[in-house]
Symmetry: C2
Subunit: 157 residues, 2 copies
């Protein structure tokens, strides 16, 4: 099944949709405050991508391009994507929405890093992600998983 992944815009409607997701936290509240205070315009672009079913947002993720100079994961050092808040609302799970978002992220051709919940590691491994060597100073509370395109490898330590 083909799903259309869209870049979400920050407006009151999107923020209302976000409330349906479990991982609703400081990031969303901050967007809401910025909108209320007119620091950002209604209809600003957000770091979120999502999939709608009709007019209902049923899956989303946040993607942020980290600059090469901050890369501590990949060799050669390069821009990479940090992915978080991948989530599908309950009634729409196991229908390929999560998969479509991950494939979309891979389509940029950049390495991807995510920090999954311990319980979701199985999903990420199936999608070709793998564990990195744990470095406490770098990773602290994280369980980083990475997807590495051909020609790239993990930074040695």
């Amino acid at each position: 099944m083909d799903y259309k992944v869209e870049k979400l815009i920050v407006n009151y409607k999107t923020l209302e949709e976000f409330k349906k997701f479990k991982e609703y936290g400081l990031q969303e509240l901050s967007m809401f405050e910025d909108l209320e205070a007119n620091i950002i315009e209604n209809d600003s672009k957000s770091p979120f991508y999502g999939i709608y079913f009709g007019d209902k947002l049923v899956a989303r993720m946040s993607l942020y391009q980290v600059e090469k100079k901050f890369d501590r994961y990949f060799d050669p050092s390069q821009d990479y994507l940090e992915l978080w808040k991948l989530e599908v609302i309950p009634d729409y799970q196991n229908k390929g929405y999560g998969n479509a978002l991950v494939e979309f992220a891979k389509s940029f051709g950049l390495p991807i890093k995510t920090n999954p919940r311990v319980k979701s590691a199985g999903f990420w491994l199936k999608k070709g992600f793998s564990s990195v060597h744990y470095d406490m100073e770098r990773d602290r509370g994280e369980n980083p998983l990475v997807w590495i395109p051909e020609g790239v490898k993990e930074q040695s330590y």
Copy 2:
């Protein structure tokens, strides 16, 4: 009630105790591999602190001192503590073990940063932690909460 907080050592016994905690992930597996490969000695010091009830580990947290030059949260910039994996095993919850660990962390007199699960924010707010301004480039998937000793404030942005 007074609980004795101890710095944990990395040995097979401690790693076995760690399996009782929900947040068992890459960090623990990495310690286990280092121990198996003799990269670290049995009885090395770990970044974990814990509280025993008899010979049973019932609460733990990881603490890491971040150097001033990496500080992006506090003003003036300074060494601070990053705290993660604070967890009390189910039968011992609501008896002050989590509280004892947080008070222990505060006793160093340094600012503390943590990235709590969305659902545990209430506990941290009661302990005097507060939200920072969300900065996507810095915080990405995190919901940072900080505890700030007197004379220190949040970095302005």
